[in-house]
C-alpha cells in the first residue's frame, strides 16, 4: 500500500490564539522554565519585553489549533493509531508575550514513503498582531506500516 500524496501543498485555515498570563505561567511551570520573565510582569518588562514572555516551546500551544485539522484531514490519511512524532524544528523570531494574538497557518510540504513507513511533513508559520513572524515550525510525523 502506498501513501497518498494528493495533500502536498494543501493549506488549512489560519487560526488565531490570544496569549494569556496564567496559561504562560502554567506552561512555564510544566516545562521547568523558571526564569522569572516567564512568571513576573515587572521582571519581564525590566528585561525589555512588552509583558510576561512565553518560553520558546510555548509555540506548541498556539500552533496546536492550526495543526490539528491538518493531522486529522482524511485527504492526508494519517493513521493516528500508528503515528509517531519523528522530528520537530522551530525557528524563532519576535518573542511572544502575554497579550499577543498569534495567527498560525499550517501547510503540508511533503508526504513520502521510506522503509515501509509514511512520512508526513507540515510547516506552520506564526505571526503576531503586528504582522511580525514569531516562529516557523516543521513537524515530521511518521506512520508505521503504511
Amino acid at each position: 500500500m502506498a501513501v497518498k500524496t494528493d495533500a502536498i501543498g494543501r493549506e488549512w485555515p489560519a487560526t488565531t490564539y490570544e496569549v494569556g498570563l496564567e496559561k504562560v505561567r502554567e506552561f512555564a511551570n510544566a516545562v521547568g522554565a523558571d526564569n522569572q520573565a516567564h512568571h513576573d510582569r515587572a521582571t519581564a518588562k525590566g528585561a525589555g519585553y512588552r509583558d510576561v514572555v512565553a518560553p520558546p516551546m510555548f509555540t506548541v500551544v498556539y500552533s496546536a489549533p492550526a495543526m490539528a485539522p491538518a493531522i486529522l484531514d482524511p485527504d492526508v490519511g494519517i493513521n493516528l493509531a500508528a503515528m509517531l512524532h519523528g522530528g520537530q524544528e522551530f525557528e524563532w523570531n519576535e518573542p511572544v508575550c502575554v497579550g499577543d494574538a498569534i495567527t498560525t497557518q499550517a501547510r503540508c510540504t511533503e508526504i513520502y514513503e521510506k522503509d515501509g513507513k509514511g512520512f508526513y511533513v507540515f510547516e506552520t508559520v506564526s505571526t503576531n498582531q503586528d504582522g511580525d513572524q514569531v516562529v516557523k515550525g516543521t513537524w515530521t510525523n511518521i506512520v508505521r506500516g503504511v
Binding site: 511551570n29 510544566a30 516545562v31 521547568g32 528585561a47 518560553p55 520558546p56 500551544v61 519523528g86 520537530q88
Partner: protein, 131 residues
Amino acid sequence: MADLKQGDAVPEMKTTPDKYLPHRYAGASGDFNPIHIDKEFATAVGLPSNILHGLWMMSQVARANNAVAGGDPKALKRLSVQFRGMGFPEQEITVTGTVVEADGDRIVIDTVAEQGGNQVIRNSEAELDLS
C-alpha cells in the same frame, strides 16, 4: 559564555519528571493523547508504560540550551530534534551538549537527551544568539 568555542561541552542538565508530570504537561499543552497519561491504555497498545510527551522532552533540550545563554528566552533562535526513543516518568533525564559551531555571538550546539542509557532525543541542533 561568549568565549565558547567549537568542541566545548556546555553544562549538563538533569531533570526527573515525576509521576504526574505528563498530566500537568497535557493540561498545559493541550495534548491529552492517552498514551501519555493513562498507563492502562498505554500497556494495552503495547507500550511498557505511559510515555513522556516528545515535545516535553524537547522543552528540556530547549531549557538546557537557554541556560547556556543565561536563561534568556530570546537567545534561542532555532531548535531541531529527532525523537528516537520513548521517555518515561520517574526516571532521570540527562541533557548534554557540545558546541559544533562558534562564530562570534552565533553558537550552534549539538544536544542529546538520555534516560537510562537510551538516547531519547538525538541529532538535535540548537542555534543561539548570545548578542
